[in-house]
Symmetry: C2
Subunit: 291 residues, 2 copies
């Protein structure tokens, strides 16, 4: 291709010098909410000891409101909206961006929110396997009208490394478990409080308990597609989500906003501990190379 | 339920007086991009001849960045992000909102962007039937792990009425046709330019031509779920999307931003002509009742 337009990121190979802008990126963190991904970039800026407050980090995708993107040091922080189709569009264009920018040895981590299953609200789940609504480790992608089944394996070593890092942030529980990914927040996750509901409270609990017995510890809406695409493209990938509630106890997210805000910082703090640890050089002492 | 928290809209039955805020809404317009839905509300404000410039319309969902919502007169304008899961969450909470607010006789219209099929870029397609990637008029919803098949019928009379209105905005082509809805923008729509592609240019064209023969005139990512949910909840619904390109001629969206911006205004202009027409009283002459 003579020119590649990354339409939903408002970037392109002819309009932007992608190797200069992104060539030294080593960590890509993705999450649903644009505000949260901006806050994460600002937080990482401080954690890495880079110059300035980080308050003025610019949205690299400012020309579009489909996604928001921030960078600080070797870290890229991008929003992906909600659900598999939304994260898929972003990942296609992000993976092409990393390719055009000639990035090497990139680790990609989804930091998100989820509903917990038999775990305390505020717990952080590191995904070992992403499963679908039938608890199977697979992602069904429709290609030209036909279903193609893809593996949803994630990097086991990376998950273990993240769990080890969680010891450094000991004020909340962190565990490894399966993550169930659905296409719908209400009926698809067995909620009784949507605009449509055709099942009983008993059927709901029976389903959620079966999921728990199959090893599912939290439920969200992007992990199978994320694991499948990153796996096929050779990216080392992890999913780290906080549980906003325990779905065995209810459907509605009732915690006060400030409690939810603190919960959402937990995966960020864990990832900061991870990013600060394994870098080949100490970014804390050479901040200028990334400002 | 004692209290209903519409979490992703940051609204609730205890924290907000929903009948006072929304009880007189008659038209709900939804679209992917928050900026575009803000621009649409401002445009409708002018079109309805309401007081003030409309520049300062406030985002009703300002407490969250998941969706944006604006109202002007009897019109509510809401963003839904990209893809079926994202629009589904919004529709569940919107339909509960309309219920709690005791709204009556609401018409809901999705105004979006799409890829055209055998039609000129800039054409506006009014959907008669939303079909899936196998060209079938159905939406498969997974409920508690089982697939439930739902009808994707839209209101035929409303589609015809919209086509009649298009005569009032004659500077672009408008047509009625099937709209194909996919879970993916790249592989799912037969694009060759994604990060992953496992098929040839010939296979792609063969698929798109089969879609065209089945009556598909444009492709987007929300219409089947939108039609199914609105149908089940008794909302009169329409889908009106502009084609940003003709997919029989290419995959990348290459038109200049200003051309694309004008294209995106076309469904808005058509809907404005529609909303101004069938109201029981003339909002143009009684602007104060909605300011």
């Amino acid at each position: 291709m003579e020119e590649d337009i990354l339409y939903h990121l408002d970037l392109g190979t002819r309009t932007h010098n992608l190797p200069a802008m992104f060539g030294d990126i080593k960590f890509v963190c993705v999450g649903g909410s644009p505000n949260r991904m901006k806050a994460f970039a600002q937080f990482m800026h401080k954690e890495l000891g880079l110059e300035g407050s980080g308050e003025d980090l610019a949205d690299i995708c400012a020309g579009t409101d489909r996604y928001a993107m921030y960078r600080t040091g070797p870290v890229l922080s991008i929003s992906h909206g909600m659900g598999i189709p939304s994260i898929s569009i972003m990942l296609h264009e992000l993976i092409k961006l990393l390719h055009h920018a000639k990035c090497r040895d990139v680790t990609i981590i989804r930091i998100g929110t989820s509903g917990g299953l038999g775990i305390e609200a505020g717990s952080v789940v590191i995904t070992d396997t992403a499963v679908d609504a039938s608890f199977q480790p697979r992602f069904e992608q429709v290609v030209l009208g036909d279903v193609v089944v893809r593996s949803t394996d994630l990097d086991r070593d990376l998950a273990e490394e993240l769990l080890a890092c969680s010891k450094e942030v000991p004020d909340f529980p962190t565990l490894i478990g399966h993550t169930m990914c659905t296409y719908d927040f209400y009926e698809g996750q067995g909620r009784l409080d949507g605009a449509l509901c055709s099942f009983s409270s008993e059927k709901k609990l029976e389903y959620l308990k079966r999921a728990h017995e199959a090893g599912v510890r939290n439920i969200e809406m992007e992990s199978t597609a994320f694991a499948a695409m990153c796996g096929l493209c050779g990216l080392k990938a992890a999913v780290v989500c906080v549980a906003l509630l325990d779905r065995l106890e209810g459907d509605q997210i009732r915690a006060p906003r400030e409690v939810l805000r603190e919960y959402q910082q937990r995966p960020q703090r864990l990832i900061a501990a991870f990013i600060r640890r394994p870098l080949p050089c100490d970014y804390m002492s050479v901040p200028l190379s990334f400002t």
